[in-house]
Amino acid sequence: MYSEKVMDHFTNPRNVGEIKNADGIGEVGNPKCGDIMKMYLKIEDGVITDVKFKTFGCGAAIATSSMATELVKGKTIEEALKVTNKRVAEELGGLPSAKLHCSLLAEQAIKAALLDYAKKNNIEIEELKDFDPNEDPHHH
């Protein structure tokens, strides 16, 4: 069902946990649909220096969270915003079609964390102008 890469990230998820005094925290998802993802970011000079996550979700949700954290770590905010769910799924060697929506959660969590960072620091991030972290990604 899942690719080897997905199973690898599911079995040994990278960057699990939380960051005390994180610069940005994003929580997305909806317990009603079964999944919640929480993303913690440490940001210095516009660069994501550390990232951690926690996920209540299926195998795909865990694997995509793990992969997403790897993809944004060490990247600038602009670069991190380009990490789409499609990109995450591709990096994992694909997901079963019924599980594609799970990867959206990771993208949303990163955006939510960045939005939180922007709010705390009074910056405007153009790409996140219309972003609503409370929207349920399953209902897109």
């Binding site: 699990v16 649909c33 919640i36 926690k54 996920t55 299926c58």
Partner: protein
């Protein structure tokens, strides 16, 4: 990883050696078509008759009331659709419950699209139907009540005799999906007031692809498959002779040692339930505490998600299920767990462990050990658990 401990007997069972041995000759030397007049054919016919008789005897039925099908789903579809079609001049109302197998539910939904009305009875927190609600739901137009004998997810056993009694008093047919009950409960169709009953061999150490529908003499029902004269002209198609033989053998084995089977499974199951409850917090048992299938242990393990749990168990060589196997592909939480009133996020963390004749105490210990580890790890990464624990 290769399966080390199989704990999904409710999904399917391995075929017992005696069962397979009984089947083989009907593939090789005794291959005659039962409808043929020569000796090779007559032998097959005789074997089918004997198998039918064995099964009928076990259930207190007449052999003429047992009709072989390709399994439980076909039996459910046949019973419901064909009683509906044959009795539509009498009425168009069917009563069932919210926790039926999809083979019943989706068939009812199909009939709703074709002019029938269906009442889906609620169940209480243990998965029990309410007999008063059932009585009140019966109208002049009610032609059929279909309530499952025992639930495949949570194991709850319904008050079948009482339901049958109510149906009989009101002159309404009563069908029960006994796919999970057969082989785990003593069943006498007459004592229990059953008019129709679905069965499937692969849940009782028989082969997949064979089952039966018991149809009480006199029940007005359309044929299911038109064609040859097989199954008293009600279910055409060259008979799956080997499958029928295997089904009968499996029934025989199941009912020869029923008491022993029940007491062994109950003991192992109770140990499993107790160990899980003692070693893992925020766990609840689904289904009725006593009126449940001997091999069924269904849990909700809070703050973790079912699929992630199953995958981890699989990696530890444990075959288990979350909800019913047929819906594992689906993202929706189980309709059964929703019906017993669990909120979505809790229903998502369901785990069904079902024990069978090859389960050992060591298996139970291994599963509990691994489950504790896995639940701990998954909860460490669960943002929900974090909140509860106030970490």
């Amino acid at each position: 990883m290769a399966t080390k401990v199989y704990m999904d007997y409710a999904a399917t069972t391995p075929v017992k050696k005696e069962v397979l041995d009984s089947m083989i000759p009907y593939y090789t030397e005794k291959y005659g078509n039962p409808s043929s007049v020569y000796s090779l054919g007559r032998e097959s016919r005789k074997t089918i008759d004997e198998s039918r008789e064995k099964i009928a005897n076990i259930l207190g039925a007449n052999p003429k009331e047992i009709y072989f099908t390709s399994g439980g789903s076909e039996a459910d579809n046949w019973a419901i659709k064909a009683v509906a079609m044959a009795n539509k001049d009498k009425g168009n109302h069917i009563i069932t419950s919210k926790i039926e197998h999809h083979a019943v539910l989706h068939t009812c939904e199909y009939l709703e699209k074709h002019g029938f009305e269906v009442t889906y009875l609620d169940v209480d927190e243990y998965g029990m139907v309410d007999l008063e609600q059932l009585k009140k739901s019966i109208t002049d137009k009610t032609i059929l009540i279909s309530i499952m004998f025992a639930n495949n997810e949570i194991g709850t056993i319904q008050p079948i005799k009482e339901i049958g009694q109510i149906a009989r008093e009101k002159g309404v047919y009563f069908h029960t999906d006994a796919v999970q009950a057969v082989g785990n409960v003593k069943i006498d169709v007459n004592e229990l007031n059953i008019d129709m009953m679905s069965m499937s061999a692969h849940k009782i150490y028989g082969p997949k692809g064979i089952g039966a529908l018991y149809i009480k003499k006199g029940v007005k029902i359309d044929p299911h498959i038109h064609g040859g004269a097989q199954e008293r002209k009600r279910r055409a198609g060259t008979e799956n002779v080997a499958g029928i033989v295997g089904f009968a053998k499996a029934m025989e084995l199941a009912y020869e040692n029923l008491e022993e089977h029940i007491s062994k499974l109950t003991k192992l199951r109770d140990k499993l339930i107790n160990d899980v409850k003692n070693k893992i917090d925020y766990v609840r048992l689904n289904g009725h505490p006593e009126k449940r299938l001997p091999g069924n242990a269904s849990f909700c393990i809070e703050f973790i998600e079912g699929e992630a749990l199953l995958l981890n168990l699989d990696m530890a060589g444990i075959a288990a299920s979350s909800g019913s196997a047929c819906t594992s592909g689906s993202l929706d939480p189980s309709h059964v767990l929703m019906a017993i009133g669990l909120p979505h996020e809790i229903a998502h963390g369901s785990l069904r462990l079902t024990l069978g004749d090859f389960t050992t105490e060591k298996d139970v210990d291994y599963v509990v050990e691994k489950l504790v580890e896995i639940v701990d790890r998954l909860r460490q990464m669960s943002p929900l658990y974090e909140k509860v624990k106030g970490v």
